[in-house]
Subunit: 334 residues, 2 copies
């Protein structure tokens, strides 16, 4: 049998309470005794049971991560940031995929609550007011990544999707493009919605006409959408809601015998690994996914340690436009 705290106590000739104090770094323990306990722990190869600890203290050493789909290349980087930060702070991480399905999302949130996680990092699709209320009743800290919600009571971390997208579209316009179309993500997804809105506004404010197609955040969707567009008309530039869509669009363009960026310029969003590996390389909005993950964990852990009082904090991290081969011309900033 694995040794318990009682075994250690006996072995060291002290009480359970003292051992407990030692492993919790309680300062008021006599040094000599502390050493004895450490020795006993060492000799027996004792490790406290995280589960018993949680039950007794109703605290937790686990965090939950709920995201749409780890298979989408943007999320592994985010997840890695979260995982690294979580471990650094002493937490173990649960993970689950929702495919942006609100039902599944709800189910997994419940599941994690039953596992008594200390907090949850949520990359949610839609967050209506009712949903927010539900989450609040759970009485456990949440941090929202990427998908924000106006005036929610939760901490959030994200880039400024609106600003980033507005800039990207403006770049294209400045380079002389007028027939720019937008390949948008699912309208349930807040970030997709922001990007679309920014595109429309930018076009409108430059007296240009919007042309939007909506699909899922996948390569296939990008390919299909672009291919069907090319069947009717030929825009001079495409702003895609993410890199996967952009990459799909780029291939559709090639397969129609057209050239990127010669015939059509393409811009994506996220800066996934393959944006710099494609041919031509993909211009995109760089999103610091890893950093978003780290920040999310830090906010969450602060909350868990008792920052219940303070207001919701909305951290906006810096994005960066990356000009690569899929887009012509000078960087207007140089």
């Amino acid at each position: 049998m694995k040794p318990t705290i009682l075994d250690v106590a006996k072995h060291a000739g002290v009480s359970k309470a003292t051992v407990s104090r030692v492993i919790n770094n309680n300062p008021k323990v006599n040094n000599e005794i502390r050493e004895r306990v450490y020795a006993a722990i060492e000799e027996l190869g004792y490790h406290p049971s995280a589960i018993a600890r949680s039950l007794a203290s109703s605290t937790s050493s686990t965090l939950g991560l709920i995201l749409p789909d780890i298979t989408n290349p943007y999320f592994p980087v985010l997840a890695r940031g979260i995982e690294d930060a979580a471990h650094r702070l002493g937490y173990t991480l649960f993970i689950s995929n929702t495919d942006n399905d609100p039902k599944i999302e709800q189910e997994y949130i419940q599941k994690m609550v039953h596992q008594q996680v200390g907090g949850i990092i949520l990359i949610s699709s839609i967050l209506g007011e009712d949903k927010v209320n539900e989450l609040q009743e759970l009485q456990i800290p949440f941090v929202l990544c990427d998908r924000l919600i106006q005036g929610s009571p939760f901490d959030t971390v994200s880039i400024d999707n609106y600003k980033a997208s507005y800039e990207a579209v403006t770049r294209l316009i400045e380079q002389g493009h007028t027939r720019i179309c937008h390949l948008a993500g699912p309208s349930l997804v807040q970030s997709a919605e922001m990007r679309k809105q920014a595109y429309s506004d930018a076009m409108h404010e430059h007296g240009l006409e919007s042309f939007v197609r909506i699909g899922s955040f996948t390569y296939e969707a990008g390919y299909q959408l672009m291919d069907s567009i090319l069947a009717e008309t030929k825009p001079s530039a495409v702003f895609a809601a993410n890199d996967l869509i952009a990459l799909g669009a780029m291939n559709a363009i090639h397969n129609r015998g057209l050239n990127v960026p010669g015939d059509i310029a393409v811009v994506g969003c996220d800066d996934i690994l393959f944006a710099q590996m494609s041919n031509p390389t993909l211009s995109t909005i760089s999103v610091p996914a890893y950093q978003i993950g780290v920040t999310a964990v830090e906010l969450l852990v602060e909350r868990m340690r008792g920052v219940k009082t303070s207001e919701a904090r909305n951290v906006v991290v810096e994005h960066k436009f990356i000009q690569r081969e899929s887009m012509n011309g000078e960087d207007p900033r140089t």
Copy 2:
């Protein structure tokens, strides 16, 4: 406060034990009482605490996944298979990344043991005999993915790396290539080692000379390795230990003004999403990562439910060679 089993018991006018029986689907409970308990559960919105359950029953509803790096595009698919299967069977999943560092790996295994996971799916780098013994002493079920070990006591799931690689190299040889080089993965990694071995054997058995370069499983490594090779000599084909390396090699070839497959054919392994998106598309060995994940969980859960007796099971899943544009010529099988 969240309701406990005692609240439910009182509300239903029964004992805690009876409620426990109901939620555990113990058949010997009077139907009428069972209904009453269900009603009470419903009314109070009761959910059992997974943590208290584990402590009392010393069973567990959690699984651990320990892998090298979720950021490597092969692993998200594996992880998704594992996660889906785990949830389907009622388990919640812990995850952590080791970067193939044995120290970190050991640390995370310990961490999960302290979390009292019911079993662990491990994608380990090296597994010496000593390591195997260590794991066995933990007294908890392990399933090994991708990286096998001859005669280990653990269940394993993987493709036949040797056979798959031997086939791939043979394909190249059959297409007339004689100067084939191999870009291998880290020698600590068992799968990389098998692929290298198969390459060498295939070359040798066809009277050809081996030419191996070793690097990490990354795009950058592939690029660098290939670029340095081209500085000295020009092979006619490259077999890379994974797709990331292959993609890097392909770009290095392009940047030297050479053509794939015209000047040099390239073959990878894994069939990650981007193998079919690159230009030219990448020929590769398709590894059913999702299915490997699902199978691993199934084996693990069987073990957890008590298949302690049976021998280690080594499941070999089917790979498939996928010929795409990065390789010339007819499929020899057609």
